[in-house]
């Protein structure tokens, strides 16, 4: 495991998570979450676990994001809080 890459990846994840929370616009939060799962798949691959990385990649970008966007299409796109 290349620890330099790992640390930057995990830092990336933390920044993504904080950004996803603090953003008012829901659609942007959803997109940042899909970026989050993108990097998560890299971290799995980094740790030699290929199948988990595979499912994370397929689920993260493929299903969750599309479902989130579908729900957003129905509800209001901006959070009140």
């Amino acid at each position: 495991m290349i620890w330099v890459l790992d640390i930057t990846m995990l830092l990336f994840l933390v920044v993504c998570a904080i950004a996803a929370i603090s953003i008012k616009d829901l659609l942007s939060a959803v997109i940042i979450l899909s970026g989050y799962s993108l990097i998560m798949a890299i971290v799995w691959v980094e740790m030699h676990s290929v199948d988990v990385g595979f499912t994370e990649a397929a689920v993260g970008a493929g299903i969750t994001t599309v479902l989130f966007i579908a729900t957003l299409a129905r509800t209001e796109g901006r959070s009140e809080d």
Binding site: I31, G35, F54, A57
Partner: protein, 91 residues
């Protein structure tokens, strides 16, 4: 630079490593714009850019570890990134 090459594969792994770190730095920079971006569309491009970068990163890591089964993930990611962008623009 030439010294690393003369040793053949010994030098090459570090080259891949350096490239991987370079790409991670570049995706960090584009993440900054992704979070800063005024509108939604800047963020869509940011994720698109990071997606393309991670594909190259995946292939590089596949080469660093000399395990050939990483490239399917890169392929899947190429398709998913495209689908994600189309889904985001459809809304």
């Amino acid at each position: 630079m030439t010294g690393a090459l003369l040793f053949g594969t010994i030098g090459m792994v570090d080259v891949f490593l350096a490239m991987a770190i370079l790409i991670v730095m570049a995706s960090f920079v584009s993440l900054y714009r992704g979070i800063e971006g005024p509108g939604i569309f800047n963020r869509i491009i940011a994720v698109n850019v990071i997606g393309t970068k991670t594909i190259v990163l995946l292939v590089l890591i596949g080469f660093i570890y000399e395990r050939p089964d990483f490239f399917d993930i890169a392929l899947v990611y190429a398709i998913l990134n495209f689908i994600m962008t189309i889904a985001a623009t459809r809304y």
